[in-house]
């Protein structure tokens, strides 16, 4: 029997979030294991054009649930609409991005439709005849492998885990428009605030030097700034915990809830590398990581791994670069 995959397409201001192509890559991998039909779901206001475009660009069928007046993501509404959709028609896999909205509605949705749920999926493969999904645990130090059972599976995919796949689109899929007319009064959207990272120097920087908990104390952040200062067009960054501690402003934060950086060089100092942080740096061309813990997950994504105390290492590095420059790099 042909299985069915649903993909929830996120969109913002009339544009589809390109993460859809990573979800399609994951779906294609599942298709290589069992025969599957893919359907895309779009929820929002005035989504006719977007849905047609999506069916053209991907070649897949699109179900477009129009919600008049829906201005922004609303977890309660998404959960209700998707629960109705998937109670009415059975899908074996329901795939969403592990975004701040996907991780919000997916677990509740799985309960609502008696499905199981795996969040933050990084890989899919067959093992012992079972379709298995891998995800990080323990701050990325371990990977856990889950086997799919009979029940439908709601999953969220960790951004950056699959190479985007752009399907051959000889024939557009069919668009099925629907209108949601229910009322939502349990949860009402009242407005939005812009990101503190918008327009920050992290966006334009070619080199980013970031500090994390491993720098030990607030005062040591100056070494991060000092190291960044050695490179032209550079900016100092930070991991979330040290922003939470109040050591550094949130506008310096790199990661899923901060700036998503893609500099030429990223230097992570005293950052263990939780998936939320790594998700924000994978676009970097070259990554150097300095951490005392040789098992730190940041070393899994680094090009150069240095097991050292970050502050001590930076001090020596800065001193050596300054000396080297003063002498025209003689003997270094």
């Amino acid at each position: 029997m042909i299985k069915k995959i649903a993909i929830i397409a996120e969109h913002d201001q009339g544009k589809v979030n390109p993460i859809i192509y990573e979800l399609l890559a994951m779906a294609k991998k599942i298709q290589g294991m069992e025969e599957c039909h893919i359907t895309l779901f779009v929820i929002g206001d005035k989504i006719d054009r977007l849905s047609r475009r999506l069916s053209h660009d991907t070649g897949h069928d699109v179900r477009a649930v129009s919600v008049p007046g829906l201005l922004a993501y609303n977890g309660s509404l998404y959960k209700k609409i998707l629960s109705t959709q998937f109670s009415q028609s059975h899908f074996d896999y329901i795939c969403a991005p592990h975004s701040t909205s996907g991780m919000d509605y997916a677990p509740a949705l799985s309960v609502g439709i008696c499905a199981s749920c795996v969040t933050g999926v990084e890989d899919v493969f067959v093992e012992d005849g079972k379709i298995c999904f891998a995800r990080s645990m323990f701050g990325g130090k371990l990977s856990a492998i889950f086997g799919k059972g009979e029940a439908p599976l709601v999953l969220t995919m960790q951004p950056g885990s699959f190479k985007p796949f752009f399907p051959d689109t000889a024939k557009p899929g069919a668009v099925t428009p629907m209108v949601y007319e229910g009322n939502e009064n349990q949860m009402i959207f009242t407005g939005a605030k812009a990101s503190p990272c918008k327009g920050s120097e992290l966006d334009k920087a070619e080199v980013i030097v970031s500090g994390g908990r491993g720098i030990g104390e607030e005062e040591n952040y100056k070494y991060i700034e000092m190291m960044a200062g050695l490179f032209p067009r550079s900016a100092p960054g930070a991991s979330r915990p040290i922003c939470d501690y109040g050591w550094v402003k949130y506008s310096r934060q790199v990661g899923m809830t901060g700036a998503v950086a893609s500099p030429k060089l990223y230097i992570a100092c005293g950052i263990s590398g939780a998936s939320q942080h790594l998700g924000g740096i994978m676009g970097s061309r070259f990554i150097v990581a300095i951490n005392t813990d040789p098992d730190a997950p940041v070393f899994l994504v680094a090009d150069v791994c240095i097991v050292e105390d970050a502050v001590e290492f930076i001090r020596l590095f800065v001193e050596n670069v300054k000396k080297g420059r003063a002498s025209g790099w003689d003997g270094v």
Binding site: N74, G75, S76, S99, T100, M103, D104, Y105, A106, P107, V111, C117, T119, G120, E127, D128, S136, M137, F138, L142, S143, A144, I145, G147, G149, N185, Q186, M187, I188, F189, T190, G191, K193, A194, K198, V207, F231, R240, C243, D244, G246, M256, T257, G258, V260, L265, S272, F286, V288, F299, D303, V304, I306, V307, E308, F313, L316, F317, V321, V332
Partner: protein, 259 residues
């Protein structure tokens, strides 16, 4: 207002991780330390701040876990929570979040909680599922990644800001009762006060054996755990600190990243 805070007793994130012989879960060594899930500390702190505003509030903390999970409950009591509830489950392996959520939901049903709080995720399994699942099981609204909350004076509604990509925020008015999962940085969790710690030590906890609840977990099953695969072919630098500095300078100069 009655507030329920769901907390988890987890392996200290600095502890050495070792996979057990059967490859099915982590092994707890004698050196392994445990702590309150750091994310949950923000949920407790937020509950305490609500109680400062609505002094008639009472804060219950609940955990699902082995006998030693009581340490985390006692820490919460030491921070200022009023009562502790322990659903005892002495399994050493993986407990799916849907199971913990269903037990907490069964317990919380009809107990009159106006607000249920928990951390955005646990630092060990990082599923971020338990909170939203509890809400759905209780048929009440929820909001995850809450970075600011204000309960209305009539306690019928909570205005929240939830964090989205890049640290932007969406604002909502949500009907109470509801479940909020709390994002880090919303507050600075306090340390337990000595006077409260002494009282917390003697405080009687409500102990419930998990066998009274349904044990059926849903379809997806943990097969095994493994060390993660390297995503880039990174090299580890060898030698003394000075030698590593020299090597790094050399690499960066060759790549024209340093002049």
């Amino acid at each position: 207002m009655k507030i329920l805070v769901c907390v988890k007793h987890v392996m200290d994130s600095e502890s050495k991780i070792r996979i057990n012989d059967s490859g099915t879960w982590v092994e707890h060594l004698s050196s392994t330390r445990f702590e309150m899930n750091p994310f949950d500390a923000y949920a407790i702190e937020e509950a305490l701040r609500i109680k400062e505003r609505f002094s008639e509030s009472c804060i219950h903390v609940i955990t699902v876990g082995r006998d030693d999970a009581q340490e985390t409950l006692r820490r919460a009591l030491g921070m200022g929570a009023d009562e502790g509830i322990h659903i005892v489950d002495n399994r050493t392996g993986y407990r799916p979040p849907s199971l913990a959520a269903s037990w907490i939901a069964s317990w919380a049903k009809n107990k009159g909680y106006g607000l249920i709080l928990t951390g955005i995720m646990s630092s060990d399994e990082m599923n971020a599922q338990t909170g939203p699942m509890i809400a759905e099981m209780l048929s009440i609204p929820f909001c995850s990644a809450v970075i600011s909350e204000k309960i209305s004076d009539d306690k019928k509604m909570v205005s929240v800001e939830r964090e989205t990509e890049g640290g932007a925020r969406d604002m909502f008015d949500i009907e109470l009762p509801s479940v909020l999962t709390i994002q880090t940085g919303i507050n600075l969790p306090r340390y337990p006060a000595l006077s409260k710690v002494l009282r917390a030590k003697k405080k009687e906890l409500e102990i419930i054996d998990s066998s009274v609840f349904d044990k059926n977990a849903t379809g997806v099953a943990l097969q095994r755990i493994r060390c993660p695969e390297k995503k880039r072919k990174g090299i580890f630098l060898d030698g003394t600190r000075q030698e590593k500095v020299d090597q790094l300078i050399d690499i960066l100069k060759k790549k024209a990243l340093l002049q």
